[in-house]
């Protein structure tokens, strides 16, 4: 054990956990990383490429090395940073990316072969023989790919999404963030304070700095209590603001239950979309390391992280208490680590400071003008080589802290592709002026990392931010604090012949950067892509700037001339479960149910998805063993008796106003204004580009009132298009539009007995052909006074009506019709039978009206009225459309018992089958029980002139080919006598 005194852990709450199956104990307040370090565990993983031993580097979400598979079974969570995994009792974690035990990874052989795996090597080889890439090389590479693994089981936890709104979002709850939130909270602004950590305080928790001469935790607790008491402030810990989107929308993930063994009744995480009028980016800074030879051993970590472990978690990062710790630094900051460790009673070898005139702040040895030039220790550090003035000597140590300076966390400020700018004094990039509008960076995120300056900057940022939205905020009394000494020099890496790691996870070394330079992969994005630098799970948080510095040295340019890197969302990895949130199963998207849905369900209907709708596909009866039996029965029932089908899904739009007729004249290719009241007309709508768009009916209920129907698929689109022309093109017309699709249950009553059946439910209404002919419509009452609408229209080609009643009565109506029609052979039919009936009749549906066809192709060319303008009329006359000779035809197989598969292509008999000889295709096909033959519709070159020709319908996809005869698409009652009787 290497626990120190103090810290912010609760020693009264010990927690048991396992790592790679071995049991350990930590405390409430620990992370997995701090608890493992406290147990003397330094080795936590393996690197991606060379499988080098890896230990923890950082103490926060930037951690590149200590990635584990957390939990087990369906909750297994790969690539989890041990540094932010809160310890809970029973936590189980496993190391990842190794074959065999972690300490004897078989794939460590890659490290021995590393000369062969230099940057970009795979682009240069594996090309011969050609077939070997997919068969041999790539499978081998893929086998070694990745880090952790998925359980392959569906995630069992629940996730939420939500929306929040505020005046000021404060990102980060450290010194600057707390000061900002308190300033804004006291001013009465709506404030959200979000921090990825489970505790507020940020870096204050990691440092030994005093506020008002007491421990910082006292001040933090006081501020937290006040913020908690303010109803206008919402504190969101365990919440990462991961992205900045347009117009002040921020994406954030709240980890509601990740600190618990299982979420229980809670959701595991919530995705919040926060709309903030202003935001303060108080995200702090990330420490960078200094590459030197063999700097990647477990035990080598960031000096600031070492302080955090010592101060917050009371942990010394060595395996044995007796082991000494050394610090390697290019500035004053490293000395703070030495001071804090000494104060905690840890054994410090000294501070290796690259500066010739290095300061000394306490009782420890300073190796001034020195560098670390080597390390030893296979699975963990046991010695470092210190070189001073050309003389090197080895010192045994158990851990080494590296302090290379701090990079402001500019990420969110560059999410709108604004570039950070180089600050030569701070030796770091800071947010530029072209960041997201309304986002004000503050504190360490702009390089003001001293406690005193961060507090003041946070307060001022809040005042400035709120002033922008008209809220006057007063300054607040800040606690007395100091800025720690922070002198540093530009020192980026220790030159040497051995490998010095820049990107720990992806194994990118200084040598790789040099090779990229040599090969002219010099633009920073080429460097990253060639070497994979910065592409690991930490997205270069700990490596990008060091790499830039090395490249700058090679090119002889400055760092900003060499390049800047910008960051894209997310700030840290976001679980796909929470982004995908909510329902993944059958409730993934809403479902529209027809008014007779529950009734159809009770009849045992099979359902099919049609857009958002669930529609009854067919209604199997006892004894029917194949769906075809059912559908044939339903079709024949309509042709010989009467059938019922819920057609509510067709879009309905109520069009009223003085100019309703004129409006519809302009929308539809054919005339609507001349329609008589009480009559219905079939309508064809084109797109403005001249292609056929949608069809339906227009029923004129009154001089200034039409009810139009659309296809099911296009209902929303046509309604939108109508609004477009109404508001944007012809607003001078007096027209009012509203959808009534849901309001009315509409049932098709089709078949020779339709009139008889309807006569049994209508109240005193003359259904005779004379009084209510084909294409008539009326408002009437049925079943003793229920208002209804009746349309005599037919999709099946039979005598048919559609009757509409308020949706709440739809179920009762179909039940009544079933009951009243029992002796007439009344039969409910579904979409399959509907499809057969319309194919038999040659009516176009979605497969024909697919947006690629024209009125002429559909045989409806004459509907495009030359007497008036309408949408698409002009463009339908273009050469390519006018000259298109493809026509809708019927197709009958020479062998009536063989199905013509829809999607087959048509060829002249005997012709080669190529794209050039392609004559058309089969759009829809079915078995016609009426004709006792398979039949189909299709588009065929010059189809209207090829009646009787025998073609080949080819379906090479499924190895089929058959002979078909071209016939009229109107297989049944081509004269239309039935529907008019």
């Amino acid at each position: 054990m290497t626990r120190l005194a103090g810290g912010l852990i609760d020693r009264s709450l010990p927690l048991n956990f396992t790592f790679d199956g071995k049991a350990y104990t930590g405390f409430q307040g620990d992370t997995l990383a701090s608890a493992l370090l406290a147990n003397g565990v330094q080795l936590m993983g393996r690197s991606f490429k060379y499988h080098r031993p890896r230990g923890v580097v950082a103490a926060g979400s930037e951690e590149p090395n200590a990635l584990v598979e957390l939990r087990s079974g369906a909750r297994q969570e790969p690539n989890t940073r041990a540094t932010v995994a809160e310890l809970f009792d029973g936590l189980a974690a496993r190391s990842q990316n190794h074959i065999g035990p972690l300490d004897r990874d078989f794939l460590a052989v890659n490290d021995l072969l590393s000369p062969f795996f230099a940057a970009g090597f795979y682009y240069k080889t594996f090309m011969w023989p050609k077939a070997f890439w997919e068969k041999l090389y790539e499978p081998a590479i893929r086998k070694a790919a990745g880090l952790g693994s998925l359980s392959m089981l569906p995630d069992p936890d629940a996730y939420d999404k939500g929306f929040l709104h505020c005046d000021l979002l404060v990102v980060g709850g450290g010194a600057a963030g707390l000061a900002a939130a308190l300033t804004a909270g006291r001013a009465g602004a709506e404030v959200i304070l979000a921090d990825e950590d489970f505790a507020l305080g940020g870096r204050l928790l990691a440092e030994s700095d005093l506020l008002d001469e007491t421990e910082a935790s006292v001040w933090i607790a006081t501020v937290r209590a006040e913020l908690d008491s303010l109803p206008n402030v919402r504190i969101m810990t365990r919440t990462t603001v991961f992205g900045v989107y347009d117009h002040g929308i921020y994406g954030a993930v709240e980890r509601v239950a990740d600190h618990l063994p299982t979420p229980g009744d809670k959701v595991r995480q919530t995705l919040w979309r926060i709309t903030a009028k202003r935001a303060v980016l108080a995200a702090g800074a990330t420490e960078r390391h200094i590459p030197f030879a063999d700097n990647d051993r477990p035990g080598v970590m960031l000096a600031g992280a070492m302080r955090a472990y010592a101060n917050r978690w009371a942990v010394s990062p060595v395996k044995r208490e007796a082991d000494a710790i050394a610090i390697f630094t290019n500035g004053d900051d490293g000395h703070r680590t030495a001071m804090d460790l000494i104060a905690k009673g840890a054994k410090v070898l000294g501070v290796i400071d690259v500066r010739q005139t290095a300061p000394r702040f306490g009782d420890y040895e300073v190796f001034a003008g020195a560098t670390v030039t080597g390390t030893k220790g296979r699975l963990g550090l046991n010695a470092i080589e210190i070189t001073r003035n050309g003389r090197s000597e080895w010192h045994p140590v158990g851990a080494l802290g590296v302090a290379g300076g701090w990079n402001p966390n500019v990420h969110l400020a560059s999410h709108h592709r604004g570039r950070p700018v180089w600050n030569a004094d701070l030796l770091s990039f800071v947010p530029g002026a072209d960041g997201p509008k309304g986002l004000i960076p503050a504190g360490a995120a702009v390089g003001k990392g001293g406690t005193e300056e961060a507090l003041a900057d946070g307060m001022n940022a809040a005042i400035t931010a709120l002033a922008g939205i008209g809220i006057v905020a007063a300054g607040i009394a800040l606690p007395k604090a100091a800025n720690a000494a922070a002198e540093q020099v530009a020192f980026w890496h220790v030159p040497g012949k051995k490998r010095a790691w820049v990107d720990f996870q992806n194994d990118v070394t200084v040598k790789d950067i040099a090779l990229a330079h040599k090969e002219n992969m010099r633009p920073v994005e080429h460097l990253k892509r060639w070497t994979t630098l910065g592409m690991a799970t930490d997205q270069g948080k700990t490596s990008n700037i060091s790499a830039l510095a090395v490249m700058a040295e090679l090119t002889g340019k400055s760092i900003p001339e060499t390049g800047t890197t910008i960051f894209r969302p997310p700030y840290t990895g976001v679980s796909l479960s929470v982004l995908g949130g909510g329902d993944t199963g059958t409730t993934f998207r809403p479902r529209r149910l027809t008014p007779t849905h529950h009734w159809a369900e009770a009849q045992g209907a099979e359902f099919v998805e049609v857009g958002q709708w669930m529609r009854a596909q067919y209604f199997p009866q006892a004894g029917e063993t194949h769906w075809r039996q059912t559908v044939d029965r339903e079709v024949l029932a309509v042709r010989s008796g009467v059938g019922l089908c819920d057609v509510t899904t067709l879009g309905k739009v109520d069009v009223q106003g003085r100019d309703a007729g004129e409006f519809l004249n302009r929308l539809y290719a054919n005339m609507m204004g001349t329609l008589k009241v009480g009559m219905v007309r079939y309508g064809l709508m084109l797109r403005e580009d001249g292609h056929a768009y949608d069809d339906g009916t227009c029923a004129r209920m009154a001089q200034d009132h039409y009810v139009v129907t659309t296809t099911t698929a296009n209902a929303g689109l046509v309604y939108r298009q109508m609004e477009f022309f109404h508001q944007c093109v012809w607003p001078e017309l007096d027209v009012q539009l509203i959808s009534t699709t849901d309001a009315w249950a509409q049932i098709a009553v089709a078949g020779p007995n339709a009139r008889e059946l309807l006569s049994r439910v209508v109240d005193d209404f003359d259904l005779s052909n004379e009084a209510f002919p084909f294409m008539a419509c009326a408002e009437l009452t049925i079943c003793q006074g229920l208002r209804a609408r009746l349309f005599r229209i037919s999709f099946s080609g039979e005598l048919a009506y559609e009757i509409a009643v308020p949706a709440r009565y739809g179920q009762a109506l179909i039940e009544r019709l079933m009951q009243k029609g029992a002796d007439l052979g009344v039969t409910p039919y579904g979409t399959e039978a509907l499809g057969v009936l319309r194919i038999e009749k040659g009516h176009a549906a979605g497969s024909e009206l697919n947006g690629q066809t024209t009125a002429q192709m559909l045989g409806l060319g004459r509907m495009v009225s030359p007497k008036k303008d309408s949408i698409g009329a002009v463009m339908s006359r273009r050469e390519g459309l006018a000259a298109d000779r493809r026509r809708l035809v019927g197709l009958k197989p020479l062998d009536a018992g063989t199905q013509i598969m829809a999607g087959s292509h048509l060829f002249t008999a005997g012709a080669a089958q190529t794209m050039e000889t392609d004559q058309g295709w089969v759009t829809s096909s079915c078995y016609s029980p009426h004709l006792q033959s398979y039949i189909a519709l299709g588009f065929l070159e010059a189809g209207d002139a090829r009646m009787g020709e025998v073609l080949v319908a080819a379906n090479p996809l499924e190895g089929q080919e058959m002979k078909v005869e071209v016939v009229s698409p109107h297989f049944v009652d081509p004269e239309g006598g039935r529907l008019r009787d």
Binding site: M127, K130, L147, G148, G585, L957
Partner: protein, 416 residues
Amino acid sequence: MKFSGFKVVKEALTGHKGWAPLWRNPAPKAEYDIVIVGGGGHGLATAFYLAKTFGELKVAVVEKGWIGSGNAGRNTTIIRSNYLLPGNQPFYELSMKLWENLEQETNFNSMVSQRGIINLIHTDGQRDAYRRRGNAMMISGAGARLLSRDEVKQMLPFLNFDNARFPIKGGLMQPRAGTARHDGVVWGYARGADARGVDIIQNCEVTGFRIENGKVLGVETSRGFIGAKKVGVSVAGSSGRVMAKAGMRLPIESHVLQAFVSEGLKPTIPGVITFGAGHFYVSQSDKGGLVFGGDIDGYNSYAQRGNLPVVEDVVEGGMALMPMIGRARLLRGWGGLVDMSMDGSPIIDKTGIEGLYFNGAWNYGGFKATPAAGYCFAHLLATDHPHEVATAFRFDRFERGYVIDEKGVGAQPNLH
């Protein structure tokens, strides 16, 4: 320098001293026979084929930033030739054939990996439409398979077969489809072109075209005027703003298309899967990241970044299709700038200005088209005649009424 396994071994054993720049950084010359504007995959492929196949030696590629910085470096790396319409399918099939020989042709491993693509089928109507397309693929020689639900389940057992809002009823597969390493494609063509004498000029932004009497004389750039007998513009995504400098309006809107990658995971997904009903498609890279995307954001944009609703929409689709990916994390997203055209299909054509040629309007499909677009654009630039598989990609198809509308949604770019 020839790349090979032998060379890699030799350099490994001798300290990597023998590697040379993959391409030069030449200063622009005063004049070229052909200047290609745009150092993306298409522009570099065009230059490569001009140099290799058409023998044009004085060729330059001018690139505003670094080569591959546009959509070539911001896509989901899918290659396929599974189109329906005769104007498209032979072109993409030529592209597929070029992909299949790319590494040998460029001596650079672009990691073309034919692991297959499966378009999932959810309704009978969709199966009919896919059968029509699959048959078009068959008669064009691209190959296809129509998979039953059970066959899909056997190949992709991790999909949501039992509890789905959009049940899986089968799939249309093109076994020859797959992925290629996007940067590798750019670099392979660049290195190959450079070796054949093409000047690749980075950090050279075209600021205007010098046009006199209806004829182009060259390009004004941030590095001065560069004269050219012919100028080929290949800047898809930025076509609108670049061609505006030549005074042209196009049948194109610029939109943002987002794509995403997860943290590295052990191999899970064999090939490419598309889930149209859920606006989601996915593959897994050789490094282990799940690479996925969905619809465009849907509004005109040159900002190269998108918004959260599409991120959610895409991942929701992914979770509905394969809920076992939930515990993985999104690592990074990016926004590509795409030319969305009025019929969803590309343009490779001359313009009304003599000597000015255009290649663009690639919608979502630019990456897979890279070899054939380069080849056909080179053909057009060198011969002044369209290549036989690219004859439909003309500007005038709109006014003449010969659109190539695979989706059948008409002249609304954000629906394609």
